[in-house]
Symmetry: C2
Subunit: 199 residues, 2 copies
């Protein structure tokens, strides 16, 4: 079965529509999705950026929020702007998403966190917000939070971010099929088509 | 009749597919296109960039060329990579394109310059390359080159670039319908749709 790696960052605004759209599109095309949370911070630091480029370059930032509004309207996705802050610190969420991988719960957890950020205006770096999301999925929040903070799980997430760098990923969301890289929510359909034809 | 302003820069790689695609798409939709050559240099300087971001951030640059290859393949557009240099200095070409506006020849001239850059690997800042393109359009090259370099025409192009800044344009190609801004070749269809519905 063809497959695609879906690289996303919990702080990333354009990752929101991709997170909400990818599962049904991939299923219709018969493509398996590997959900790959990673951290953009170390990659942006390599570019010399200490903040999101949408904050560093205000014109780009203003455009991004308006563009995201239009995209969400088109896709029928709810969106509440502005978010509680931008970018939010997605480190804990990313660690939890990584810890839930073997249980197959990464997609459900990810969608719930993006909804909390971009619809419910919650602060996704807070333990109580993350615990509530985990409980909503029927999980033992305390146990998952503890697993997320183990050295082994942290090392997994670091290795995934290193892999993203090796794949020359510079932003989120990104999609890879082997070494073929697609960047941006608006390349999701192309990436799935690529996986079907050549994956 | 609804209309759209099409902002492009002769040095810009993603302006190439937009330049080649916009006329038939707009015609089919019954939308008039105002071709607005402008200069990205002053806008990038405001961002603190002394070069194209595709050169400043090598990962983004590598991705852009591969993405452009895929786009051109999909659209059936010829593309010869790498170009003779990137970004090329598009100042003279932009002045000529502005000077030809009242004669309605800006679109034909623009398409010929982008073909020279991205298909024929020519240096589009050279007078003899530009003169050959003008002659190919049946024009008196010497007269057009002289008109392009008049103070009045230079002032027109500066005013157009100032207008782009007021519209919060930060990259090329961009499309505006009133104050509504769309950025990137992949927003061309959305911009035309916007012009039809609300222009």
């Amino acid at each position: 079965m063809p497959s695609i790696d879906f690289w996303y960052e919990f702080a990333s605004s354009y990752s929101y529509p991709a997170v909400m759209r990818i599962a049904p599109l991939a299923e219709d095309a018969g493509v398996t999705v590997n959900w790959r949370p990673f951290l953009l911070g170390p990659i942006f630091a390599n570019h010399g950026w200490a903040d999101s480029p949408f904050n560093l370059y205000p014109s780009k930032g203003r455009y991004m929020w308006r563009d995201l509004e239009r995209i969400c309207e088109k896709e029928g996705l709810p969106l509440s702007l502005p978010p509680v802050s931008f970018p939010q610190n997605g480190l804990k969420a990313a660690r939890i998403a990584r810890a839930l991988r073997d249980d197959g719960l990464t997609p459900d957890f990810t969608r719930a966190v993006f909804k909390a950020n971009f619809v419910e205006k919650k602060c996704i770096s807070l333990d109580n917000v993350l615990a509530e999301i985990l409980q909503g999925l029927g999980l033992d929040a305390e146990a998952v939070l503890a697993k997320a903070e183990t050295d082994l799980n942290k090392a997994h997430l670091r290795a995934d971010t290193d892999e993203a760098m090796r794949l020359d990923i510079f932003g989120a969301p990104s999609f890879t099929v082997g070494d073929e890289l697609f960047w941006g929510n608006d390349r999701l359909e192309d990436a799935i088509e690529w996986a079907v034809k050549r994956g």
